[in-house]
C-alpha cells in the first residue's frame, strides 16, 4: 500500500507549476553558486599562493642567519576551502591570517579583499539554498498535506482503505521527499560538474565522500522540514491556518533563535574590549617593571661580551613582557571563541542552526575553520620556536640569550645559517573526513532526533485527527 501512496503523491505534485518553479529556482541557485565559486576560488587561491610564496621567500632570505630568522615576521594564511560551495559562512568577515615571529604574534588579520559594505551580502551556497529556499519549498509542499486533503474530502477516501495512519504519513513523507530531493540532487550534480570544469579546483576522493555525506545530511534536513509541515498540518483543519503557523515557526527557528543566541551569549560570557585588554597589559608590564626581578639598564659596551647579570635580567624582563602580551591576547581571543561557541550552542536549539553549523563544519569555513586555523598557527609557532631555540643551542658561539631588541640582543644569539629545507613551514591542514564526522555526529544525531520527534508528533496528532 505504501508504494501506492508514494506514487499518488508523486503524480499529484510532479506535473504541477509549483514543481516546475521549485526545480527552476534550485537549478538557478546551483548554477550561480558553481560559476561564482569557480571564479572566486581561483582569485582567492592565487592571492593566498602569492602570500605563501612571499612568506617562503622571506624565510629563505632570512635563513642566512638564525638571528635574522628569529625576527622575521612570518605571515601565516588560511587558504580558501575547496568545499566552500557547501557553506561560505560569511568567510569574508573573518580574519584569515596572522603574523608571527619568535618573539611576537599579532591578532588575527585580514589578508583578502574585504570591505564592510560588500561583506553584508549573503553567499548563494548550498546551505543558503537549503535553509532559505528548500525549507520554504518543503513547507509549501507539505502545509496542506492533511488539512488540504481534509478540505477536498480526499482524506476520508484514503483512510476508508485498508491503510494505517502511519503508512499515510510515511507515504506522504517519502513522496514529497522524492519530489524535492530530485531537483536538489540534479542541482548538486550540475554544481559539481561546473566546479570540476575548472582545472584549478581538484576535488579528491575524500572531498567527494564529504560531499556525499553532506548530501545525505541535506536529505535528513529536507525530511525534517517536510515533517514540520506535516506536523503542523496535522494540528490544523484549514490549510491557511497551517501556513500561518508554519510562518511563525519558520521565523522563530531561522531568525529569532539564532539572532537572540549571541545576545544571551554576550550576557553570560563577558569579553573585555580591546581597550581594557590594553590597559590590563599595561598594568602587567608595570608590575613586571616594579617587581625588581629585572633590570632595564643597557650599555652598548656589553654587546659581544659574555652576558653579565644585568644583561640577563634585562633579557628576562623583555621576555616576560612579550610572553605576557602573547598570553593576554591569546586569552582574549580564547574568550571570544568561548563566547561564540556558546552562541552557536544556544542557537542549535533550532534545527536550522544545527544544519547551518553542520554545513560550516563540512566546508571548513566560518567559526570552525577560523578556530582550527588559529589552533594550527599556535602549534606551528611552538614548533618553529622550539626549532630555532634548538638551533641556537647547537651553536657554541652563541650566548643563548634571545630577546626582542634587535639592537641589543644581536650579539648574544646565533648568527649561523640555517638550512632552509630544515625550517618547519606552515601549511594549513583542512580536517579529514573522520574528524569532520566525529565532530558533526552529535549535530547530525540531533537533526535525526528532530525528525523522529516530529514524526512521532505527526503520528500522534494524526491518530486523533478528525478526517471528516
Amino acid at each position: 500500500m505504501l508504494h501506492y501512496l508514494i506514487d499518488k503523491e508523486l503524480k499529484e505534485h510532479i506535473t504541477t507549476p509549483k514543481m516546475l518553479i521549485t526545480s527552476g529556482i534550485i537549478l538557478l541557485v546551483m548554477i550561480i553558486n558553481g560559476l561564482v565559486f569557480n571564479s572566486q576560488f581561483i582569485q582567492q587561491q592565487q592571492k593566498m599562493n602569492q602570500e605563501i610564496i612571499t612568506n617562503s621567500n622571506g624565510l629563505q632570505d632570512n635563513a642566512g642567519s638564525l638571528f635574522k630568522l628569529l625576527f622575521f615576521k612570518q605571515k601565516l594564511v588560511k587558504p580558501p576551502s575547496k568545499l566552500g560551495f557547501i557553506a561560505i559562512a560569511k568567510e569574508e568577515v573573518l580574519p584569515n591570517g596572522i603574523k608571527t615571529n619568535y618573539y611576537k604574534e599579532t591578532e588575527p588579520e585580514h589578508y583578502k579583499s574585504q570591505n564592510n559594505y560588500f561583506s553584508r551580502f549573503r553567499s548563494l551556497d548550498w546551505t543558503f539554498l537549503l535553509i532559505y529556499v528548500i525549507s520554504f519549498v518543503c513547507l509549501a509542499f507539505s502545509y496542506n498535506a492533511f488539512s488540504g486533503e481534509k478540505v477536498k474530502g480526499t482524506l476520508k477516501l484514503i483512510l476508508s482503505n485498508n491503510v494505517s495512519r502511519g503508512t499515510v504519513i510515511l507515504g506522504k513523507l517519502i513522496g514529497l521527499h522524492i519530489c524535492i530531493s530530485m531537483p536538489f540532487f540534479i542541482g548538486i550534480l550540475i554544481n559539481i560538474i561546473i566546479i570540476q570544469l575548472n582545472p584549478g579546483i581538484a576535488l579528491t576522493g575524500g572531498d567527494y565522500l564529504i560531499i556525499l555525506i553532506f548530501t545525505l545530511v541535506a536529505f535528513v534536513f529536507i525530511a525534517m522540514n517536510l515533517l514540520l509541515g506535516l506536523f503542523i498540518s496535522s494540528l490544523t483543519s484549514k490549510p491557511a491556518h497551517t501556513l500561518n503557523l508554519l510562518l511563525i515557526v519558520w521565523i522563530m527557528l531561522v531568525i529569532i533563535i539564532p539572532s537572540v543566541s549571541w545576545v544571551f551569549s554576550q550576557k553570560i560570557i563577558d569579553v573585555a574590549s580591546e581597550e581594557e585588554i590594553a590597559i590590563r597589559l599595561s598594568n602587567e608590564i608595570d608590575k613586571i617593571y616594579e617587581s625588581g626581578n629585572y633590570s632595564w639598564s643597557w650599555n652598548g659596551a656589553w654587546a659581544g661580551q659574555q652576558p653579565n647579570d644585568t644583561v640577563k635580567r634585562r633579557a628576562a624582563g623583555i621576555q616576560a613582557t612579550d610572553a605576557h602580551r602573547i598570553m593576554l591576547y591569546r586569552e582574549y581571543l580564547d574568550q571570544k571563541f568561548k563566547q561564540t561557541s556558546l552562541a552557536i550552542k544556544l542557537s542549535k536549539i533550532s534545527p536550522f542552526s544545527l544544519f547551518r553549523f553542520i554545513g560550516e563544519r563540512f566546508s571548513d569555513n566560518g567559526y570552525f575553520g577560523f578556530k582550527r586555523f588559529i589552533d594550527q598557527t599556535r602549534i606551528y609557532r611552538a614548533t618553529m620556536n622550539s626549532f630555532m631555540t634548538q638551533k641556537d643551542q647547537q651553536d657554541p658561539d652563541s650566548f643563548h640569550l634571545l630577546w626582542s631588541e634587535p639592537w641589543a640582543s644581536g650579539t648574544f644569539s646565533s648568527h649561523k645559517p640555517v638550512a632552509f629545507e630544515e625550517i618547519p613551514q606552515f601549511k594549513y591542514q583542512p580536517p579529514e573526513l573522520a574528524e569532520i564526522w566525529n565532530r558533526s555526529i552529535l549535530d547530525i544525531s540531533l537533526l535525526i532526533a528532530w525528525c523522529i520527534l516530529l514524526f512521532a508528533g505527526t503520528f500522534i496528532a494524526f491518530i486523533r485527527y478528525d478526517v471528516r
Partner: protein, 415 residues
C-alpha cells in the same frame, strides 16, 4: 461602493487567523529586534565614551547614532577611531569593537532586516490568496455578480488588505519605540524623529510593493498552492538572489586590491622615500610630505576603484526593491555609504589640518593638536538625488505590480 469593499475586507481580515499571526509575529519580531539592537547600541556608546580622545590626541572618533538601532548598516565601522600618524598615515583602530568581532557571521536583526525580509514575506503571504483564494472558495463569483466593477473591487480589496497588514505593524513599532524612549541613554533629537517618520513612510511603501507582488501573483494563478510557491520564489529572488547577484557581478567586473596588497604598496612608498633619502636624492624635510602624497594617491586610487564597484553593485542590485529599500534606510539613518563618504572626507580634512605637526620616534603626532569635530549629514543631504531615485524606484515598482495585478484581474477567469 469602494468604502464598503474596504470595510468588508478589513472586517474579514481582522477576524482571520492570519491577522492574529501577523500581529503576534510583527510585535515579537520588532520587540526582539529593538531589545537586541538597543543593547548593541548601548555597548557601542559605552565604548565611545571610553575611547574619547584626550587633549592633543590626533584621533578622529565619531559617536554612534541612535538611528543605528533601526538600521545598523556600517555604523560600527564608521565609529572606529582613526588615528593620524607620521606621513599622514591613518591608523584605523579596532578597539571600539564592543561586540565580539567573530559574531559578525550572525545576522544583525535590526528593524531594517525585520521589515526587508520578514515583513516583506508577511506582506506576500497576506496577498497570495487574495484573488485566487476567493476564486477557490467560490466567493469571487458572488462578489462580482453584484453591481461592482472589477477595478473598484480589486482596489477595495488591495486597500482593505493592506490597511489590515500595516496597522498591527505600525502599532508594534509604536510600542517598541515607546519602550526604547524610556531608556535614559537613548536620546532622539527632532531630526532623528523626522528621519524615523520618513523611514516609516518608506517602509510602508516598501511593504506595499510586496503586497502588490503578492496580489499580482494571485491574479495570475488559478490555484492557491501555485500562487504560494510562486510568491515564495519571488520573495527569495527579490530579497536574496538579486541583491547577491548584483554584488557578485560587481565583484567580477570591478576587482579591488586586497588589504595586504594595499599594505605592501604603502610599505613600498616608505621604502622608496627612505632609499631616496639614503641616496641623497630627497631633501630630509620632504620625506614626510612625499610619504603623505604617496599615501594620498594610493588611497585616492583605491577609493576610485571602491566607488566604481559600489556604484556598479548599487545600480544592479536596486533592480530589487529590497536593495533599494536598504539603500534608502541606511542612508537616511546615517549608517550607509553616503555617510561613510562624508566621514572619510572629514577625516582627510582633519589629517590635512594637522599634517606637518612634530612626531615622536614612534611616529605619533605631538604638540598642540586641534580636536576632531564632526557633524553627521543633515536630512536634506541624506535625501539626495540617489535616495530620492531609490524612493522613486519603490513607487514605480508599486505602480508596475499593481497595474499588472489590475490588468491580469480584468482578464481573470473567475469560474
Amino acid at each position: 461602493m469602494l468604502k464598503t469593499i474596504i470595510i468588508k475586507e478589513i472586517q474579514a481580515t481582522i477576524s482571520s487567523f492570519k491577522f492574529a499571526v501577523i500581529t503576534i509575529l510583527s510585535t515579537t519580531l520588532i520587540l526582539t529586534s529593538f531589545f537586541i539592537m538597543t543593547n548593541d547600541y548601548l555597548a557601542r556608546l559605552e565604548n565611545y565614551e571610553i575611547l574619547q580622545p584626550q587633549d592633543n590626541d590626533p584621533t578622529a572618533l565619531i559617536k554612534p547614532t541612535p538611528l543605528s538601532i533601526f538600521a545598523k548598516g556600517l555604523d560600527e565601522n564608521l565609529c572606529r577611531s582613526y588615528q593620524i600618524h607620521f606621513g599622514g598615515q591613518i591608523i584605523v583602530g579596532s578597539k571600539q569593537q564592543s561586540v565580539n568581532s567573530i559574531f559578525q557571521f550572525f545576522t544583525t536583526p535590526d528593524l531594517l532586516f525585520v521589515i526587508k525580509v520578514i515583513m516583506g514575506l508577511a506582506a506576500m503571504l497576506f496577498a497570495f490568496d487574495a484573488i485566487v483564494g476567493e476564486k477557490e472558495s467560490g466567493s469571487l463569483k458572488l462578489a462580482l455578480s453584484n453591481s461592482v466593477s472589477r477595478p473598484i473591487w480589486i482596489l477595495g480589496k488591495w486597500l482593505g488588505g493592506f490597511i489590515s497588514l500595516i496597522v498591527p505593524f505600525i502599532l508594534a513599532l509604536l510600542i517598541g519605540f515607546t519602550i526604547i524612549q524610556i531608556h535614559p541613554d537613548i536620546v532622539f533629537s527632532s531630526t532623528h524623529l523626522h528621519i524615523i517618520t520618513l523611514m516609516l513612510i518608506i517602509s510602508i511603501i516598501y511593504l506595499a510593493v510586496f503586497y502588490s507582488i503578492g496580489f499580482m501573483i494571485s491574479s495570475l494563478t488559478q490555484q492557491t498552492s501555485a500562487s504560494l510557491v510562486l510568491s515564495l520564489f519571488t520573495w527569495t529572488l527579490v530579497v536574496f538572489i538579486l541583491p547577491n547577484l548584483g554584488n557578485i557581478l560587481a565583484k567580477q567586473l570591478a576587482p579591488l586590491p586586497s588589504v595586504s596588497q594595499l599594505e605592501q604598496q604603502k610599505d613600498q612608498i616608505w621604502i622608496k622615500e627612505v632609499f631616496e633619502r639614503i641616496q641623497g636624492r630627497t631633501d630630509p624635510g620632504m620625506i614626510e610630505k612625499n610619504i603623505n602624497n604617496g599615501n594620498n594617491r594610493l588611497m585616492e586610487n583605491y577609493r576610485m576603484k571602491f566607488n566604481r564597484r559600489t556604484i556598479m553593485s548599487k545600480n544592479i542590485t536596486r533592480l530589487s526593491p529590497a536593495s533599494a529599500f536598504t539603500f534608502i534606510a541606511i542612508d537616511l539613518a546615517g549608517t550607509g555609504l553616503l555617510e561613510e563618504r562624508h566621514v572619510k572626507q572629514a577625516i582627510l580634512t582633519y589629517k590635512d589640518l594637522i599634517f606637518g605637526n612634530d612626531t615622536d620616534s614612534d611616529g605619533n603626532i605631538t604638540g598642540i593638536t586641534p580636536a576632531f569635530s564632526f557633524h553627521r549629514l543633515s536630512i536634506s543631504s541624506r535625501l539626495n538625488s540617489e535616495t530620492l531615485a531609490n524612493i522613486g524606484i519603490l513607487i514605480i515598482f508599486n505602480f508596475i505590480f499593481f497595474s499588472a495585478a489590475y490588468v491580469a484581474f480584468l482578464k481573470y477567469d473567475i469560474r
